[in-house]
């Protein structure tokens, strides 16, 4: 087991799969130079320019060509550089990739992985910081992966590459330098299974992606204050591990969902709604969400910090929830 960064874990996962299956290839801007974050370092040298394709700045076509190539039997990794640029390729993603299997009655299997480094990262401001993963849970036809650790990112990326479903893989930009263990041979992690970060009985905290470290830290602070949180990292939002979350809330009777995305319309609403629907409101004593307010991401550090969910805010939210 090697200790590697999350971005390196992803690199190793893609490398393993490209060695395993010659139909796997990658396209996107600057990928032949290793990618913006080094996630494809060395790929050009090993796989050549037919399988490691640096493209023009043509997001619509990066996405749509990936789809076309999948329709004839290759398995493209579509690298979108920064999530926000996916806005330039939404027709190809939402109207075409997500619907094509269904619309054509099962004739097409768009086995693409769309990699979209997302979230707040080093004061990049409103057009480079969005976290809109909840949107895609609302779109039938796609899997939504939101890993937060090197091992999960690697295992989910392997699963994504092997999946015949289109998988939207949200690389957590701000967690790229985080280190963790990754196995020599990376096994796929099944979609829809949460990772229990900590066992507890006073409240359930559900989170994913960028806010996982903040929740981890907060759970430690809460523990020191005698509050024991049951903490789940969902890892994928569609499918998502409803069963584990419901089982946990059935025990703790308190639910806090934490995510970096704006609270309004975020996936926290779905988690909360679904838990209340399944368990019934009577089984729950308190439920709440912590996300960003409905405000674009500002540039200046004091503004960004004011809005971004962090450990102190998680602690405060959990404590408020326990008073209810």
């Amino acid at each position: 087991m090697a200790q590697v960064t999350l971005v390196e874990a992803c690199r190793l996962a893609a490398l393993q799969e490209m060695r395993r299956d010659p139909r796997v290839w990658v396209l996107g801007e600057d990928v032949a130079r290793g990618g913006l974050f080094g996630q494809y370092r060395g790929f050009l040298e090993e796989f050549g320019d037919q399988r490691v394709v640096s493209t023009p700045i043509s997001e619509s076509t990066i996405m749509g060509a990936g789809l076309g190539a999948a329709l004839v039997g290759t398995r493209p990794i579509i690298e979108m550089r920064i999530f926000d640029f996916v806005m330039c390729a939404m027709d190809e993603l939402v109207n075409q990739i997500a619907k094509i299997r269904y619309m054509f009655g099962g004739q097409a299997r768009p086995a693409v992985v769309v990699r979209m480094p997302h979230g707040i990262w080093r004061n990049s401001a409103a057009q480079h910081s969005q976290t809109l993963e909840s949107w895609f849970t609302h779109i039938p036809g796609v899997v939504v992966a939101v890993p937060a650790t090197p091992a999960d990112a690697a295992g989910l990326l392997v699963a994504a590459i092997r999946s015949d479903d289109p998988v939207l893989f949200f690389d957590p930009k701000n967690l790229f330098p985080v280190k963790g263990e990754v196995a020599e041979t990376i096994a796929p992690i099944p979609f829809g299974q949460a990772r229990r970060m900590r066992e507890g009985s006073d409240l359930t905290i559900v989170t994913w992606s960028a806010t996982v470290p903040a929740v981890e830290e907060a759970a430690g602070i809460l523990a020191a204050r005698g509050i024991s949180a049951d903490v789940l990292d969902l890892r994928t939002l569609w499918p998502w591990d409803e069963a584990s979350v419901c089982a946990s809330v059935a025990r703790t009777r308190r639910l806090l969902v934490v995510h970096e995305a704006v609270t309004t319309g975020g996936f926290g609403a779905e988690v909360l709604a679904r838990v209340v629907e399944r368990l019934g409101p009577g089984a729950v004593r308190a439920a709440g969400r912590l996300g960003q307010p409905r405000v674009p991401v500002p540039f200046a550090p004091p503004l960004e910090d004011a809005l971004k969910p962090d450990a102190p805010k998680v602690v405060a939210a959990a404590e408020a929830l326990l008073k209810a």
């Binding site: 394709v53 023009p56 190539a69 329709l71 036809g141 829809g192 499918p239």
Partner: protein, 336 residues
């Protein structure tokens, strides 16, 4: 006229008659309330689909647009599956989930019509890239209208195809109109040829109502594309004899415009040529009659074909996280 050449013209005529008959039958069925949803017919434009596809192999792929019946038929898509799809029946190529705007028949390389203008362009270039990667000698032909050349994917896709020298034949089916707006009133500059060449894709224009001319031009371009010279564009000038959709009377056209166009339409032109070259009228009538009979029979079968079982509405969404009808009686109500 060599036998070979005549056989080609006859094949073109047969395909065109089948497209015309299919669409006239579909129009009648739509008017009779047998076909739901929007229906875009290509009546008057048959020579483009027929002439281009005659030069394609079964393992070649095509992408199409919202007006794609002709492309699908010319590429060899099964008629019963097409007609049933229009009727929303279980035996349709898409099991009733797609309808006219989403006809696809992967078994003959028809990668799908598209409800989004220019939506097939990036798919086509990617398919070509994938085919090359897999070592195939198949090529991709991408059909779109004059309206599509004002959307961004036109630029991106042509640049991309030229850059990677991909085996793609772009076919711009220029019927002079996009929905209810004349092409010239929304398209600046010298036109699609210049745009194509400026993006590194050699292009040529052809009279898209002359099936033999389309066939010749397509033959040349397909040979170049298949030979590894990179992408080419064929600009086929034609005319849409009907409205935008089956319910559009296209009343805004100038008086006499459609009548004038009728005298240039592709079917009588090819018929006249075949007659002049000694083909008996009887033989041509038989081709036409067969086509009509085939389509009318397909209509009858489609009308009595079974509807899809509502339970199939849940199929083919995705493998991971698929919902089923038991999981959804009415939203999440099973648990409240």
């Amino acid at each position: 006229m060599s036998g070979d050449n005549r056989a080609r013209l006859v094949a073109l005529y047969g395909t065109m008659c089948r497209i015309r008959a299919f669409e006239e039958t579909a129009l009648a069925a739509h008017r009779a309330g047998e076909i739901p949803g929007p229906l875009h017919v290509s009546i008057g434009q048959e020579a483009v689909a027929a002439g281009v596809c005659l030069n394609l192999r079964t393992d070649d792929r095509i992408t199409s647009n919202h007006r794609g019946h002709g492309h699908a038929l010319a590429k060899g898509a099964g008629v019963a599956g097409m007609m049933e799809e229009l009727f929303g029946r279980a035996g349709g190529h898409c099991r009733g989930k797609g309808g006219s705007m989403h006809i696809a028949d992967f078994s003959v390389g028809m990668l799908g019509a598209n409800g989004v203008v220019a939506g097939g362009i990036p798919i086509a270039v990617g398919a070509a890239q994938g085919l090359r990667m897999l070592g195939s000698s198949a090529i991709v032909c991408c059909f779109f209208g004059d309206g599509a050349i004002n959307r961004g994917p036109f630029l991106e896709g042509l640049n991309w195809a030229a850059l990677y020298r991909l085996p793609v034949l772009f076919v711009c089916e220029d019927n002079g109109v996009a929905a209810f707006t004349r092409a010239e009133s929304v398209t600046a500059g010298p036109g699609v040829l210049a745009r194509s060449e400026a993006l590194g894709v050699p292009a040529l224009s052809v009279d898209g109502n002359d099936a033999a001319a389309v066939d010749d031009a397509a033959a040349r371009l397909v040979a170049e594309v298949r030979g590894g010279s990179g992408p080419r564009l064929l600009h086929a000038i034609t005319y849409r004899l009907m409205g935008h959709t089956s319910t559009d009377p296209a009343a805004w056209r100038e008086t006499g415009e459609v009548e004038a166009a009728r005298s240039h339409e592709p079917l009588p032109r090819l018929r006249a040529r075949l007659l002049a070259e000694g083909m008996p009228a009887r033989a041509l009538d038989a081709i036409e009659g067969d086509a009509r009979a085939e389509m009318s029979q397909a209509r009858g079968s489609a009308l009595s074909a079974p509807w899809p079982d509502p339970a199939t509405a849940w199929d083919d969404v995705q493998d991971n996280g698929a919902m089923t009808d038991d999981a959804w009686p009415f939203g999440a109500q099973e648990t409240v």
